[in-house]
């Protein structure tokens, strides 16, 4: 292993981003469980409110208010409107404006139109929870974010900086300063990218690393490579395997274990070629990205949910030497 990967859990704030479908929620949940296993209390934040995060713990969807969904793991679903109301209540002592009437709609409208408003309400809430943890006022020690996917994360992380370019005065300007600084502090924050060893996820990861470096001050953490297929054979063993696939050997094998032997040989050939294709993408990732890589094996399992979360937790723990 290269780099400071074992320090992963020493940060207060971990983002997990990546292309859709690579297993961000699972990896975020597994990291939370890993942290909880080491005695920390973790706030797991789901930014798209699909209910994927609690599902990793066999728990029903959660709301904006954090709930303990597993011993040591609290979860909340981001809700920009609720975040605004909380902000107003805490900072400006403005009474809760409620959901009804044109004000909520007007806010929704401005939030959609005005750059960075939704993003700042998201990262602002996250940063606030981190600061509360640092100052010992929270029910958790660290915050793990199942973050927006590659396309959106750069805007989200840069929101605090970009909003200051647009807003000249007012409380938002002053209050975004500390948010931006917290997000840029490598002792506190790490942005991790989840990928799979496949063509598009790898291409997006390489591009995202470059964009995050160019367009944000966010400290990068690790790249987690999910669903890595096992290497079946050494080179010498592979020669033996090829020999077994020759017609005579194949027939002899059928004679030994029945006609299913051909399916087994076909299956192994599939496994070998899938692994080989992925290895090429992995090699590309290794060449292009200088971040520590953590590998999570492909899981040959029946289900998803807590069982898978625990298996990924174990794999991550092994990678980190925990």
């Amino acid at each position: 292993m290269i780099g400071p990967a074992p320090a992963l859990l020493d940060r207060r704030l971990l983002f997990f981003t990546g292309k859709g479908g690579v297993g961000k929620s699972t990896v975020a949940a597994a990291t939370a469980l890993l942290a909880a296993n080491s005695g920390k209390r973790v706030l797991l934040v789901e930014t798209d409110a699909k209910g994927d995060v609690p599902a990793q713990f066999e728990h029903k969807p959660v709301g904006f208010k954090p709930r303990e969904i597993y011993p040591g793991v609290l979860a909340m679903a981001m809700d920009t409107e609720a975040s605004l109301q909380e902000y107003l209540r805490l900072n400006l002592r403005v009474p809760v404006i409620g959901r009804v009437g044109p004000i909520a709609r007007a806010f929704e409208f401005v939030a959609n139109a005005a750059p960075g408003v939704k993003e700042i309400l998201t990262v602002g809430k996250i940063a606030w929870e981190v600061r509360e943890a640092i100052e010992g006022r929270a029910d958790h020690d660290m915050v793990i974010v199942d973050a927006a996917s590659s396309g959106h994360i750069v805007a989200q992380l840069g929101a605090a900086d970009s909003i200051r370019e647009l807003v000249d005065v007012g409380p938002v300007r002053t209050q975004t300063l500390w948010v931006a600084d917290l997000l840029a502090d490598p002792d506190i924050t790490a942005v991790n990218i989840v990928t799979t060893p496949e063509e598009m996820p790898v291409a997006e990861t390489i591009e995202l690393v470059a964009r995050l470096r160019a367009e944000s001050r966010a400290p990068l953490g690790s790249v987690i490579v999910n669903r890595v297929l096992p290497e079946l054979f050494t080179r010498a063993d592979e020669e033996t395997f090829e020999a077994l696939r020759e017609p005579d050997a194949n027939a002899a094998l059928v004679g030994q274990v029945g006609r299913g032997a051909t399916a087994v040989l076909d299956g192994a050939r599939l496994a070998v070629s899938l692994r080989r294709t992925r290895a090429e993408h992995l090699a590309e990732l290794l060449t292009a990205v200088d971040l520590p890589l953590l590998y999570v094996p492909y899981l040959f399992v029946r289900t998803h949910g807590l069982r898978v979360t625990k298996m990924v937790t174990e794999a991550l723990g092994d990678e980190l030497g925990l």
């Binding site: 806010f107 274990v257 029945g258 299913g260 299956g267």
Partner: protein, 408 residues
């Protein structure tokens, strides 16, 4: 490069008689637009391109694939290295080199979000000066590049634009990757709401009445909003927003008419939707939700495409028996085999155990897939199943291989 994981035996067994067009072929023969949707990472782009190529081969005519964010190799395969919004004919010599001689023409275009927005503004602005005032505006840049729905909307808008030229017999469109893969359905309505709604008028009213910059006249209704908004954002920021939208005012009608037409086109009987998914729990669950939503909202759900599926031979009970025997009895079986490269029986035994074990591993996943497939609740008439390919699909031959399964 493009060997399907399924072997030839199965394909022949399930192939239909050649004369009967497949369900997918009949579907495409009666439609002008196919919208491919599905959650991220399921292979929408490849399936869209394969469907377009297959249609050009089997049905003929001019077929366009409008892709959003193709992998570099796929873009290259379609001959679109340097293309923006312009649709280009996939060079016949590229197709010929891949052994493909379609009856019709295959065209390909990529979506350039920024360019499409600029075109839209130039078309609808009341004069060139206003158009450039908008195009130069900082808020405009942010709005078009970051406003979550802007990408979705512009894809649908481009679809409408291309369809209304009447240049193509069939358009296959890949949908943008979004947090919610069906957001694009709402995009036209949201856009109409956004630019044409009373809300915008209500928000900009204080500035319109007040006239000079900074002279806001607040109505009783808008005062509470501005009191809150001022404290959060500062009044200067709100002024900027209002000014920007005042510039936009002349374009409301054009935008709204257009967005409504786009919405209608998606509901048109000539438009169909193909939901693409893998047989993994999360994407499949989402695909089922799409099928439900599309149906309830009156869109035409034409096909479900199960992509990257494992081969059936992994479910073969004989295979399972053989695998178990190989794992448990590897040493004895290795002794019984002879031939070149098989004389090191320890090594042969190790390989036999490994392949038996690997078969059993993959069987677990194949079984899970089969179970998920059988549990599919609401499915359209056409269900296509595409195998996992041993290598990535990055060339025309690969697209044709996918097409063969789509149209089978």
């Amino acid at each position: 490069m493009t060997t399907p994981a399924w072997n030839g035996r199965e394909r022949r067994a399930s192939a239909r008689p050649e004369a009967t067009p497949s369900g997918f072929e009949s579907l495409l023969a009666t439609k002008e637009i196919v919208v491919c949707c599905g959650s991220g990472g399921v292979g929408k782009t490849s399936v869209s391109a394969a469907a377009a190529l297959g249609a050009a081969c089997r049905l003929g005519g001019k077929v366009l694939v409008l892709t959003i964010d193709p992998a570099k190799r796929l873009a290259t395969a379609l001959g679109m290295e340097a293309l923006g919004n312009q649709a280009n004919l996939v060079p016949p010599e590229l197709l010929k080199a891949a052994g493909i001689e379609p009856r019709g023409e295959l065209w390909a275009a990529m979506l350039d979000t920024k360019q499409s927005w600029d075109d839209l503004v130039l078309r609808h602005a009341k004069d060139e000066e206003t158009a450039y005032r908008i195009l130069d505006n900082r808020l405009y840049h942010n709005l078009t590049s970051r406003f979550v729905q802007s990408h979705d909307y512009i894809a649908m808008e481009r679809l409408y634009e291309i369809h209304s030229t009447g240049d193509y017999d069939l358009i296959v469109i890949d949908t943008p990757p979004t947090r919610n893969a069906l957001d694009f359905l709402d995009a036209p309505a949201r856009m109409a709401d956004f630019f044409g709604g009373r809300l915008l008028r209500w928000l900009t009213l204080p500035y319109r009445v007040g006239g000079k910059r900074g002279n806001r006249v607040l109505s009783v209704a808008s005062r509470p909003f501005y009191q809150v908004a001022d404290r959060i954002l500062g009044s200067k920021f709100l002024e900027d927003i209002a000014e920007f939208f005042l510039n936009f005012q002349g374009m409301y009608d054009g935008f709204v008419t257009r967005a409504n037409a786009v919405e209608q086109l998606l509901h048109d009987r000539r438009t169909t939707f193909a939901v693409v998914t893998t047989l993994e729990a999360a994407p499949l669950h989402e695909a089922e939700q799409f099928c439900d939503i599309l149906t309830t909202r009156g869109f035409h759900l034409g096909a479900l495409v199960l992509n990257k599926t494992l081969p059936d031979y992994l479910l073969d009970p004989d295979g399972a028996t053989a695998a178990t025997a190989l794992v448990e009895d590897a040493a004895r079986i290795a002794e019984a085999l002879d031939g070149p490269a098989l004389d090191d029986t320890a090594r042969t035994a190790r390989v036999l155990r490994t392949i038996g074990d690997s078969y059993r591993n993959f069987s677990v996943v194949a079984l899970r897939e089969a179970e998920l497939r059988s549990e599919l609740a609401r499915v359209p008439d056409v269900v296509a199943r595409i195998p996992t390919f041993e290598a990535d699909i990055g060339d025309l031959g690969g697209l044709q291989a996918i097409g063969n399964y789509l149209f089978e």
